[in-house]
């Protein structure tokens, strides 16, 4: 198979060659994704192997009898399956939430407040002469990003590394910092203040900036602002270093304001470094189905968005859900322990290709086909570009779409349209 799409990170590299065993053009993360590993053997209900149909029957029984089931995950599956998940949450009067809520959801809140001066990775590759990585470490999280889209990419107008100013801002000197022309080491939690300082300098008010902000001297900040303003086309890539720390959504908002300020002088865009290959789909599909991207409650028969109550973590900690359907995700590994605590108390149904930490606490486990290898569909790359992932291996496993389709049919039969 030529031009296969890697279904690991938000890069969604589309130049993979895979013969069923060995892949070419894969980074270490992609190589791990495409290599053979332990699978869930078959559907299991309370430790007993059953058929797909029976597992789905039992799962539907739990979901329709729950007062407010939580449907969570979706970042590692295709848009067609995500759509069914949103509809299923609506029919069940439950909560739809997805992996963004422990990841880039604060970016969504910032986008609601300030808008998003966005672009595509193609623009970064072809046009950017200033590339900033703020609170992100693509060398470890998106390994081919620097070579395909940003640092070393040979673009139409910007023809390679020597024509780019690369800036890394982080609290630690990451592997990515070694690719940079300039590295600014900041104190944890001071991003907001640094954005404000840069905005002040660019707006001609450097006298309002103290001698040092967040561990960076005023002189250094002036130098930084100069590089930004003198860029012809700049891209600010940012990661969880902003969304996971003090300030969170407000920091991203201030970054957007910095980009707005820069756009009065030159041309700048921002791009969040999205983690899973289709976490953008888990947001976008929910937005076009229900009006919101995540933390959506359907218990009143219509969609309501309220992140401090309806994200999976909050709903679990507040004990506001009494059953959970987890698909294409592993919250038992990635949620704070108090949320996992609630997950161990309620019935959990899991749909996933691989056994993981959530499998250990799940009552019903339904194995699924590997998206992009054994199952096809549409995904959105981190910049929102839609791509078709392919199926090139036959399998006995049902796809996420097939599993959710039968679930939804059965729920509609029991609860009505």
């Amino acid at each position: 198979m030529r031009n296969a799409i890697c279904t690991f990170c938000g890069n969604a590299c589309d130049d993979i060659e895979f013969d069923g065993f060995v892949g070419k053009n894969l980074c270490p993360l992609g190589e791990a994704k495409f290599s053979a590993k332990q699978r869930i053997e078959g559907p299991v209900v309370n430790g007993e192997r059953v058929s797909y149909e029976e597992a789905i029957d039992r799962a539907v029984e739990i979901l329709v009898n729950a007062k407010r089931p939580l449907l969570y995950g979706f970042a590692s599956t295709v848009n067609e399956a995500i759509r069914l998940g949103v509809i299923l949450a609506e029919k069940l009067g439950g909560i739809y939430d997805q992996c963004s809520s422990v990841c880039h959801a604060p970016s969504t809140l910032a986008m609601i407040e300030e808008g998003i001066p966005g672009g595509t990775l193609g623009q970064a590759k072809n046009r950017a002469d200033v590339v900033v990585f703020w609170g992100c470490n693509p060398v470890e999280a998106h390994p081919r990003h620097p070579s395909r889209y940003s640092v070393m990419a040979k673009g139409f107008l910007t023809k390679g590394r020597q024509y780019r100013h690369v800036i890394v801002v982080d609290v630690r000197k990451t592997a990515t910092a070694y690719l940079a022309t300039e590295f600014y080491q900041v104190k944890p939690g001071y991003d907001y203040a640094i954005f404000s300082a840069l905005r002040s300098i660019i707006n001609g008010h450097e006298d309002a900036v103290p001698d040092e902000v967040g561990g960076v001297s005023r002189e250094k900040l002036k130098e930084f602002a100069d590089i930004l303003v003198n860029g012809k086309y700049g891209v600010i890539f940012y990661g969880l270093g902003l969304t996971h720390t003090r300030g969170s959504d407000r920091s991203v908002e201030n970054l957007v304001k910095l980009v707005q300020t820069l756009n009065r002088h030159t041309r700048y865009i921002i791009q969040p470094m999205r983690g899973h290959f289709n976490v953008v789909g888990a947001s976008a599909v929910a937005a076009w189905e229900a009006g919101y991207e995540y933390a959506i409650d359907f218990s009143r028969g219509h969609s309501r968005f309220f992140p401090s109550e309806f994200t999976a973590v909050e709903a679990l900690i507040r004990r506001d859900c009494d059953a959970a359907l987890i698909i294409a995700s592993d919250p038992a590994a990635h949620f704070p322990k108090r949320a996992v605590e609630r997950l161990t108390e309620i019935p959990v149904i899991q749909i996933d290709p691989h056994p993981n930490i959530t499998t250990l606490i799940a009552d019903i486990v339904i194995p699924s086909a590997l998206v992009g290898i054994e199952a096809e569909g549409t995904i959105y790359r981190m910049d929102g570009i839609p791509l078709r992932v392919k199926k090139f291996k036959e399998t006995e496993y049902w796809s996420d779409y097939e599993i959710l389709k039968l679930m939804l049919d059965k729920v509609i039969r029991l609860k009505g349209e």
Partner: protein, 127 residues
């Protein structure tokens, strides 16, 4: 004991073993506390020794790992735990945005002789 700011996040090793979480390889990749050498000296631990990280949200025992140049340099007073079930024993609350504070959590690190818990036991602890 030293006071630290805890940050959590992705690493290559964590990403490579993410679909094999029930293996030793994954546990080795995520049950780590990466630290500045000076902080390790202050609590008298060497690479591979066990340390206990404590925050307002909880505590967890991890293997100490020295932050080295060109790999994971960390300033004094900042420790890094790869994302996963171990890190999540000590991460903070969401402050209203719905997204937990996975980085920049105030805490402390001390040497310990307690064992690293297997993942199964972490789940039982929270039950």
């Amino acid at each position: 004991m030293v006071d630290v700011i805890v940050i959590t996040g992705r690493t290559t090793e964590q990403g490579v073993s993410i679909d094999e979480k029930l293996t030793d390889e994954y546990t080795k990749a995520v049950a780590l506390c990466e630290m500045n050498e000076e902080d390790m000296k202050a609590i008298n631990v060497k690479e591979g020794d066990r340390v206990k990280v404590k925050t307002d949200s909880g505590e967890v025992v991890l293997f100490a790992k020295k932050a080295v140049i060109k790999d994971l340099e960390l300033p004094e007073g900042v420790v890094f735990i790869p994302m996963g079930p171990y890190a999540n024993q000590v991460v903070g609350r969401s402050n209203g945005s719905g997204t937990p504070q996975f980085k920049g959590i105030r805490g402390s690190v001390e040497a310990t002789h307690e064992n690293i818990k297997p993942v199964e036991e972490l789940l039982k602890v929270v039950k």
